[in-house]
Amino acid sequence: MATRLVLTVLVTFLGLLLVTFFIGRVVPTDPVLAAVGDRAPAAVYERVRMELGLHLPLWQQFWIYVQKVVQGDFGTAVLTGKPVLSDIRRVFPATLELATVATLLGLIIGVPMGVFAAVHQNKWIDHVIRVLALFGHSVPVFWLGLVGLLILYAWLGVVAGPGRLDVGYFDVVDTVTGVILVDSVLAGEWEVFGNAFSHIILPAAILGYFSLAYIARMTRSFMLEQLRQEYITTARVKGMAESRVIWRHAFGNILVPLITVIALTYANLLEGSVLTETVFAWPGLGSYLTDALLAADMNAVLGATIIVGTIFIGINLLSDVLYRLVDPRAK
């Protein structure tokens, strides 16, 4: 079983790398330009082309890359001049922090919203929740981000502006995990924690709103399906308390599909959100990957792809484990 799992993961990774690599090589962008700029003389251009191995056949370039990756060498990112691993170690915690807070917000608010809506189907509360969810699903995040900044930061002053920290708090705590909320707690720097929290709350709330919209809609439809089942009617006929019917019986039975929804939402956020990162000057994985793609910086693209792939596979495995915990039949 374990061997099969490892094999599946390996094949998935290899396929992922292969597709990313070849797509990256056929886009009509010259990766040497990212390294030397437009104004470099022909001799420098040629030397860098050779250094990057671009004169070799594609299959050979791929083979060399895979060999290096197996040895733990992801190469150097052209765009930053730093090893890809160190870049990812820097940008991923920023994304992880934002995605986690956003998912928690989405989860805490989205699930009860969905349950409320289902329980009060076709009543005014249901309509309000449905409209809110629809709004969250259709409004551009870029616009919402700027409006949020304008109202909550510029006009009301209840949250901090773009960036992860105010400049006065730069380099106050040592980087341990890279997640400032965690590092500041580890260092006992509560003022830094407060500042980091005031910076993260708005982008996380906006991203969280989008997850919330999806989670609430899905929770509602899962719950509606359960509430129509005969065992619910039986429980009610038996005189069971309504809260017990809803939360223990119906809700208990939607946990498995709900975990999948939440896991996928979280995984999507962990890929990074380019637009949110741009508006909020958040140095995360999304803008790193996009910049790398546009510049055909393949080491960076492939490194980030492996990370994203690992996240997806990891979260899938995690949700499998959770299924077993919540559903006795899966044991």
Partner: protein, 536 residues
């Protein structure tokens, strides 16, 4: 159900209270001893003066490293000694001698000697990264550089070029970032596999004599500098710390500036600038830069190869309307390859929108009903808007312009491979001498596909042996007046016949809080210096 709802309500209240509770910390203004600059700095690849060739990287390096000589940003014809006290060229026109200042200390505390200056130039030649050609064009290579660039004693540096060139040409090249003097002892201490400390200097530290030293650089996030307390001039930087934050979105820069969370916003667009100009807490500062915006016509296209068509298209651009409606505050009309502020620049402006004249010229070219043509256009602002404006005015004479949008590097890749019809681009000079733009716009030594030198003239397949010879003569002309005369004549010829319609010269516009002053901006990003910035 109740318990869940109570929990939820409590959680929400706690979240709200904590968010409100931390607002005091969140809304602190920038610290008094720190200047905060919002700037799109994602172009930085390296902070090593021997390697950096990007706008914001060059600006950072200027504040950390000094050159032997520099020019006065207010009058570029005036050169002054930065680390050199005196300098002269020998009678052979090839041997330059620099006498260095005494008592200059690097960020490490090491004392500057001529050996450091020699090492810095040698390493730039041997590393031969992107800006290396600024030095290697004088005949230096890895085999001869140690003989040709040498320290004669602790304070004397001798540089021998391969052939005699205009001394101003050589001096201006020495003012470029690649001429930044590096602390040789520190660089060697951090050398790995013969890289002259490049791996260390590119991202981890600074080893110069400039008013600031690097604290850290987080790519696409920020860089922080702290004052070099032991600066040789005794006139150390006014503000202790400078933090440059990468904020790409102009609207976010504007909000931060209005709230006072940053002191400078460097990338505001036309509308943002107009809005902040009305705010009494904010001031606007401008400087002409060397970059020009142009469109160019590939001579491989038979229609565009006709001289009358080239001229007609130059009459089909509404320069003034584009300046007023699209690029106000960021570009001004300029029609020559030498930007204002350069030796030999002229301000002739013969072209304006004249559809009738353009139609006449097209008729003469045998194209009375116009023709179809494509333009590769980078999908950013203001390039796209300018392209659309040009599309509109071209159409008035029957020229149907199809805009092909693409990412910057995609369009550039196509342009470099000479696969375009028309290209809209931006060009920034590599150093402050007129040869930098003259070479690329008006020289094409070999128009073959495998040419060694692929200038902008080459990219547009413009075969110009005569003008090439003229520009080559200019760079060898020792008499500055005669040199200027050659460039002036070349520009007038270029205006008339070239397949380039130079349209605008960049203006850098910076918005800053009114209580902050003293940011010096020059014609190049290498002239933007922080040391005089004061906060009241």
């Amino acid at each position: 159900m109740k318990s869940y709802a109570t929990l939820l309500a409590a959680g929400t209240v706690a979240l709200g209270v904590s968010a409100l509770g931390i607002q005091g910390a969140a809304l602190a203004a920038t610290p008094k001893d720190t200047v905060v600059i919002a700037y799109a700095i994602d172009d930085i690849i390296s902070l090593d003066p021997g390697e950096s060739f990007e706008f914001s990287g060059s600006e950072a390096i200027t504040n950390m490293y000094q050159r032997l000589i520099a020019y006065d940003p207010k009058d570029v014809t005036r050169l002054y000694g930065q680390l050199a006290e005196t300098w002269y060229v020998g009678g052979d026109g090839k041997t330059y001698t620099f006498k260095l200042r005494k008592g200059v200390k690097f960020h490490s505390g090491n004392v500057l000697t001529a050996a450091d200056a020699a090492y810095s130039l040698q390493r730039a030649v041997i590393l031969n990264k992107s800006p290396g050609f600024i030095l290697t064009q004088f005949g230096f290579n890895k085999d001869n550089v140690k003989q040709r660039i040498r320290a004669v004693d602790d304070s004397t540096l001798v540089v021998e070029t391969a052939e005699a060139v205009a001394p101003t040409f050589f001096y201006y090249c020495m003012t470029a970032v690649v001429g930044g003097v590096v602390d040789s002892k520190e660089a060697m201490k951090h050398e790995k596999a013969g890289d002259f400390g490049n791996g260390w200097l590119k991202s981890e530290a600074s080893a110069g004599t400039g008013p600031y030293k690097l604290v850290n650089w987080k790519p696409k996030d920020s860089f922080t500098m702290i004052r070099h307390e032991d600066h040789w001039s005794g006139d150390k930087a006014k503000t202790r710390r400078v933090v440059v934050r990468h904020i790409a979105e102009p609207a976010a820069q504007r909000l931060l500036l209005e709230k006072g969370d940053i002191d400078f916003a460097r990338n505001l667009g036309k509308d943002d600038l107009a809005a902040v100009a009305r705010n009494k807490d904010i001031k606007i500062q401008q400087a002409r830069k060397g970059a020009v915006l142009y469109i160019s016509f590939s001579q491989k296209n038979p229609n565009l190869a006709k001289p009358e068509v080239r001229e007609a298209l130059k009459y089909l651009i509404d320069y003034d309307a584009i300046e007023k409606n699209i690029v106000q505050g960021t570009y001004v009309v300029h029609q020559n390859f030498l930007p204002q502020g350069f030796l030999g620049a002229i301000s002739d402006r013969p072209y304006k929108l004249d559809v009738a004249k353009a139609k006449d010229l097209l008729t003469k070219a045998g194209l009375p009903n116009g023709f179809n043509v494509t333009m590769d256009t980078r999908n950013n602002s203001p390039t796209t808007e300018i392209a659309q404006a040009i599309q509109g005015t071209f159409a008035q004479a029957g020229v149907k312009l199809e805009i092909i949008p693409g990412d910057g590097r995609q369009t550039l890749t196509k342009y470099r491979a000479r696969n375009h019809d028309i290209y809209i681009g931006r060009w920034g000079p590599d150093y402050q001498d007129p040869h930098t733009n003259a070479e690329t716009f008006a020289m094409n030594e070999d128009n073959g596909d495998d040419a060694k030198s692929k200038t902008l003239a080459w990219r547009n397949s413009w075969n110009i042996p005569q003008m090439t010879a003229q520009i080559k003569a200019a760079v060898r002309e020792v008499d500055p007046k005669k040199r200027v005369a050659i460039y002036e004549a070349a520009q007038r010829e270029f205006l008339k016949t070239s397949p380039f319609a130079i349209m605008f010269q960049q203006i850098e516009t910076v918005a800053h809080r009114a209580n902050v002053d003293g940011f010096e901006m020059g014609p190049s990003f290498e002239d933007n210096v922080y040391y005089g910035i004061v906060k009241k």
